[in-house]
């Protein structure tokens, strides 16, 4: 079946502009995660959705970052007033809690470049 998809694959924006990143999880996966991967570094957790609720937002770096999820499906990560330090690959993952594995399945990511 289809995997996790993300759009756009690449986004170049000017400092101070707002951006929206989209994630389409695997159908039926109730859990959805956003991570950030800076160049040459590991992944940083940003936010976790269970259904349309976000019980864990502990990784969001500032109030410029927000996310929502609708229909227990698509999620949008919004970054307002982008800064150069926001440049990174943003990865979305989904999983189906309750299975034996808890493994997460990742999308290809959105590469964000803030100029």
């Amino acid at each position: 079946g289809a995997g996790v998809s993300q759009s756009p694959s690449n986004k170049v924006t000017e400092k101070g502009k707002d951006v929206e990143l989209r994630c389409d999880p695997i159908s039926g996966h109730t859990a959805l995660y956003w991570y950030r991967q800076r160049l040459g570094q590991g992944l940083e957790f940003l936010i976790y959705f269970q259904g349309n609720s976000a019980p864990d937002k502990s990784g969001l770096p500032s109030d410029r970052f927000s996310a929502e999820r609708t229909g227990e499906s698509v999620s949008t990560l919004t970054i307002q007033r982008t800064q150069q330090e926001d440049s990174a690959v943003y990865l979305c993952a989904s999983s189906f809690p309750g299975t034996s594995g808890y493994e997460q399945y990742f999308g290809p990511g959105t590469r964000l470049t803030v100029t």
Partner: protein, 115 residues
């Protein structure tokens, strides 16, 4: 806090030789451990997991990992490396300290397999 460490930034191995990518963990309670691989400009792909049971876990593409509780390690192994195995490998542990699940990743190890 739950964490994993990958002590090697890069591992070099000749094709046909066995490979090991190291990972150590620090968790409270029973660890749920994962290995992911990332090819250039791609998202992370799940390789294998340890939840419970046999200490030797087999995964995708001929990879396996050995869970060692006394050494708090979860090293990734393959008996015979392929050039196509060259990629970035991440070890991860499930973190439930906030009451909700997320993965905490290591900094990654680049594997380079030479012909």
């Amino acid at each position: 806090a739950q964490s994993v460490a990958q002590p090697e930034d890069q591992v070099n191995v000749a094709e046909g030789n066995p490979l090991t990518v190291k990972c150590t963990y620090s968790v409270s309670g029973n660890p749920y451990l994962f290995w992911y691989v990332q090819y250039p400009n791609r998202g992370l792909q799940f390789l294998l997991k340890y939840i419970t049971g046999d200490n030797l876990v087999k995964g995708s593409y001929g990879f396996e990992a050995e869970f060692n509780k006394s050494q708090t390690s979860f090293h990734l192994k393959k008996p015979s490396a392929l050039v196509s195995d060259s990629a970035l490998y991440f070890c991860a542990v499930r973190d439930m300290t906030t009451g909700f699940q997320k993965l905490v990743f290591g900094t990654g190890t680049r594997l380079l397999v030479s012909p």
